[in-house]
């Protein structure tokens, strides 16, 4: 892939006229996707897709294109040359772009994972065997992901990774289910069996009669996957520079009224984790870490190329939302969570969050999957789904009581427009009051 991309890049650079610059971005995947329902295969297949982004620049004016590649060099070049001419013709009608930004001195780089791709058929066989008797539903995704940048200034960047992501739910009945996942680079049968044993154990707990609790405010423990939903919602305008400078961030009150989150809350964009490419789409090198919330106070913003130029800031991210979020650990041992919670809700997942009032960082959303009522430190039974409506300034502010000492690395299973590079490393959160409304 890398050689094919660089060869295309070299050929296209030869098309440039005097004064023109060209930025090329590459994105590709070879993925197996196998969908499961009732522990049987629902749909199984393979996707191979390669896409090139062109940004043709001259005199401060530029136009962009995205083109699917076939893999046939001559055919692709013919198509790309036609698009190239179209961009050149378009550019004549465009005003100068004051926020055009691309690196002129960024280093070339390469990060390649040569691990073998896990054998999907073997993994599926083991999974279905291990889940025998369970109503298991979910998806297996695996294969190679590629990303690259090439510029007419000679810069070359390449990132190639191998991964699998098995994301599943085991159902008891109705909407009563336990969610599980197993993701990584090297398939380990023993690790799968351990997770499946955990699913069977949790499903046994789900078989108890469900409770319906009335609306009200309850103590809660949010497992890392539940906390991630809140942080992902907060990331919708919460951390990017443009949102902060234009007064539409949900964290606006931290800037205008001096509000702070709890001192335990430290959020970092950990580019150094290395699961996402270490360069932006334009070829800027990402710093290893960007502090977003520092001990409860506003930290830096995520600055993409365009916003960096507009506001005179250094580029530190490909996009304005975290790709490799990390939250600092606390000191509560996970094994002591039930006792620390006392009486309240143990929430493994939240679902379908949105803003009730963006200005107050007030969110609403649902509980989903295993959610248990805990009474004096002992699990009583599953709880029917509940809707919460509360402000982040409370949940991660004055009502945050503790974060767990252990953290969970969550690899994003999403695949809109291609498999995701995103990940998050998070603790669980003990909160002295979350408001439930329905």
């Amino acid at each position: 892939m890398r050689e094919a991309f660089y060869a295309l890049a070299d050929a296209l650079m030869g098309e440039l006229a005097g004064g023109e610059r060209l930025l090329l971005g590459y994105r590709g995947e070879e993925s197996d996707f196998v969908r499961l329902n009732q522990n049987r295969i629902r749909q199984a297949g393979h996707v191979a897709r390669r896409q090139l982004t062109l940004d043709l620049i001259a005199d401060g004016r530029h136009a962009m294109a995205r083109v699917d590649l076939s893999g046939d060099r001559e055919g692709d070049l013919s198509e790309l040359r036609a698009v190239f001419l179209l961009l050149r013709a378009q550019r004549r009608h465009l005003p100068e772009d004051p926020y055009l930004s691309y690196p002129t001195e960024a280093p070339s780089s390469e990060r390649v994972d040569d691990s073998p791709v896990p054998d999907s058929r073997v993994a599926l066989q083991e999974l279905i065997g291990a889940a025998e008797g369970l109503d298991l539903v979910g998806i297996w995704a695996s294969g190679r992901l590629h990303a690259g940048v090439a510029s007419s200034l000679g810069q070359r960047n390449w990132h190639s990774s191998v991964s699998f992501n098995l994301d599943w739910s085991g159902y008891h009945q109705g909407d009563k289910a336990v969610k599980g996942s197993y993701a990584g680079t090297a398939w380990d049968s023993e690790a799968l069996l351990a997770r499946m044993a955990g699913i069977r154990r949790d499903l046994a707990a789900m078989a108890q009669p469900p409770m319906t609790i009335p609306p009200g405010r309850y103590r809660v423990y949010l497992a890392p996957a539940a906390l991630l939903e809140i942080l992902e919602m907060l990331a919708w305008g919460g951390f990017d520079l443009k949102s902060r400078r234009t007064g539409q961030t949900p964290l606006l009150r931290m800037a205008t009224e001096g509000l702070r989150l709890h001192p335990l809350v430290t959020l970092v964009e950990d580019h150094g984790r290395g699961l996402a490419p270490g360069f932006t789409g334009e070829g800027f090198t990402k710093p290893d870490r960007v502090g977003l919330i520092e001990a409860g106070g506003l930290g830096d913003c995520l600055v993409d190329a365009r916003n960096g130029k507009e506001y005179g800031m250094a580029v530190n991210a490909a996009v304005g939302v975290p790709e490799s979020l990390e939250m600092a650990a606390g000191s509560l041992p996970e094994s002591e969570v039930p006792q620390a919670l006392g009486t309240g809700l143990y929430i493994s997942r939240l679902w379908y969050l949105n803003y009730s009032d963006r200005g107050h960082a007030r969110l609403t959303g649902m509980t989903r999957f295993a959610c248990f009522w805990v009474e004096r430190g002992r699990t009583s039974g599953p709880v029917n789904v509940m809707r919460f409506d509360d402000s982040v300034f409370h949940l991660l502010g004055d009502r945050l009581e503790a974060l767990t000492a252990e953290r969970e690395l969550i690899l994003d299973p999403e695949s809109y427009g291609g498999r995701s590079h995103r990940s998050a490393l998070l603790p669980g959160a003990l909160i002295d009051g979350m408001t439930f409304t329905l």
Partner: protein
Amino acid sequence: MSEQQGSIAGRFSREAPAVDFWTLRLVEAHTERLSVRQDVLRPPVLSRSRGALVSVVEGEGAGYAATGDLSPGGLAEALRRARDWAEASANRALVRASLLPRPDAVGDYASPVGIAWEASSLASKIELLQGASRALKIHGHIVDWEAWLGHSRVDSLLTSAAGARISQRVSLIDPGLRVVANRGSEIQIRTGGGARGARQGGLEQLSPQGFPDEATRVAEEALALLDAPECPSGTLDLLLMPSQMALQIHESIGHPLELDRILGDERNYAGTSFVRPEMFGRYRYGSELLNVTFDPCVLGETASYGYDDEGMPARRVFLIRNGILERPLGGVGSQVRAGLVGTANARACDWDRLPIDRMANLNLEPGSSPLAELVGRVERGVLMDTNSSWSIDDSRNKFQFGCELGRLIRDGELRGLVRNPNYRGVSEGFWRSLVGVGNADSFELHGVNSCGKGEPNQMIAVGHASPPCLFRDVAVFGGGD
């Protein structure tokens, strides 16, 4: 159908693979997007997408492979991979592939286009957007503003071993306006000009969507909302305008009626449904006034088509009639599995995804009440316009939705604006509180441009048309801490 697609399909068919059954779906998409944010033109982005999905049935197994390599060698490799997956899944398949219908229809469809995208020069389109942008920035408290214009043309060709040959061209226009007003810690966002639903057709669709003429109104309303009181809390009458009805229909009728959800396919991701198979034909979903159609034949609506992506001919059918649930949103594959009659609604978002049960055009049919009559029937209530927030449980039952703009109604008259209007309810029951449905004059086309579902994930645009609707005794509330 492009000339190249016809040639590729012809060759594939002539060299027909030795499998029990196959389909080949070729897709070629051309898109272009222009936007001006804070009076600065962002670089125009055009896109050329081309690829194929080969699906194979071998014995009781089915498999697929998607590739951008449309050469004979590329398609042969895709066929090999699809066949491998068919063989690998045969003994573990959820559905016996030999029982699935095999499309054989021949036909075509094309979006009617009045004024072609190319009829207006790039310079003219940029000038239009810059004018709209300037019209949005009417005050210092407008802190962000944007106008955009998008276009796509998607050619697809579906062929099969049974002789299917379905050629479709869908052309979409996607304009929009967005402003953000801010003062202190108060943020108000208002959108318009078609921001909530693409239309099929050409540039003739801009004016009916209020693009760019709504710019000044949209900006003025965002500013006015900064000074408006919070929406009151209480059990009130609720008058939802078509721009919010689109979301209400989408989340609490459309998704629960998707048959693949009812069959459990989506339980790990998009969720399940409170609707069960035995409810079709007898369940009272809403009041007598509730009539909902699956209608892929509405001129200009987002998701009109002649055939779905499994090759089934599409036609208008009632899903809910006089409040009674009649049939699910289920393509022919799901229909076989469930033993229910459904709709031609299996759709794929792109060439690299399989069709799954989706909404297409899902519309609430007009009633007989002029808008003024609906307002006049309210003693104490709130009118809500344009969705801003959406959240619903995984069974598509407990929901909470928010709107950009609210307006008080007292004693049958519209009063002042209220900000951050929200309401919550439960799908089972909510539609039974429907007490008024606007007439045909108040019927509007809207939609949802980015409906996410499926594993692997798929994002697709759907259409929802509706008149304003009046609901009794709904839990309404505003923002604040």
